[in-house]
Symmetry: C2
C-alpha cells in the first residue's frame, strides 16, 4: 500500500516543520492555492492527538492569513477531504468572484471559462515570504 503523500512532497514546498509542510498547488485556475500536508501518515483530524491537531491548524491559519493578505482574496476556502489520498492534508484556496467556479466549490462544474488576470498569478509568488514572516523560516 503506497501512499503518494508519504513517498513524495506533493508539490513545491514553501515551508515546513517537524509536523507538516506547506506546498504550492500547480493549478493555473487557482493561483495561490496551497496545501498543508501532515508529514506522518494519518487519515483524520480525530486520529491526531490534541497537540498535533492544534499544531497543524496553527499552520493552516497562518497559511490562510498569508494567502488572504498576499492575494487579496474575496473568500477563503478550507477543506480536508482525502477521499482519493487518505493522508491528512488541508486545501487552502483563495477565491474570487470571477474565478472559474465561484460561488461553487472548486470541485463543482465550472461556472465560466478560465481567465485569471496575470497580476493575480504574479502575486502568488509572495506567499512563501508571508508564511515565513508569520511562522519563521
Amino acid at each position: 500500500m503506497s501512499c503518494e503523500l508519504c513517498s513524495s512532497p506533493g508539490g513545491a514546498v514553501l515551508w515546513q516543520n517537524a509536523l507538516c509542510r506547506v506546498v504550492r498547488v500547480d493549478e493555473p485556475d487557482y493561483p495561490g492555492f496551497c496545501r498543508v500536508i501532515l508529514n506522518r501518515h494519518a487519515r483524520e483530524m480525530t486520529d491526531l492527538d490534541p497537540g498535533e491537531r492544534d499544531g497543524l491548524m496553527r499552520v493552516v491559519y497562518a497559511v490562510e492569513a498569508a494567502i488572504r493578505e498576499t492575494m487579496g482574496a474575496q473568500k477563503m476556502n478550507l477543506a480536508s477531504l482525502g477521499n482519493m489520498t487518505p493522508h491528512l492534508h488541508w486545501h487552502v484556496i483563495p477565491r474570487f468572484s470571477d474565478d472559474r467556479h465561484f460561488p461553487g466549490p472548486i470541485w463543482a462544474v465550472p461556472k465560466r471559462e478560465s481567465g485569471v488576470p496575470a497580476e493575480r498569478t504574479a502575486r502568488a509568488d509572495g506567499i512563501a515570504r508571508a508564511i515565513i514572516a508569520s511562522l519563521g523560516p
Copy 2:
C-alpha cells in the same frame, strides 16, 4: 444585507453553546452530514481570535468523532467554504465508498445513482446522543 445564518438556525439544532451550534443537514444522499455554525457573524477562521478558533474546532472534532463512531464512516470530510453564505460554518460529512460522489467531493458531478441503505439513514439518529456524550448537554 441579511444573512441566512444570522436570521435562522440553518437546520435542526442537535447541540449548541455560546459560541456555535451543530445542525443536522437535510440531505438524503448524506445521512449523518452535520454543520457546525458560528453563532456570531464572521467570514473566515482568521477573523476569529485564537480562543474562538480553538473553541470552534473543539466542537468540529467532537462532531467528527461522533459521526465516525455513529455512522461507521469510511472517510470524514471537513470543509469551511462559505462562498454563497459567508458566515463561518463547517461541513462535517461522513463518506462511504458507495455514496453518490465517492471518491469525489460531494459538490462534484455524481459518480452513481443515489442509493443509501436504510440502515445508514437510521443510524444518523444517534449522532446527537454521541455529541452530548462527548461535549455535555
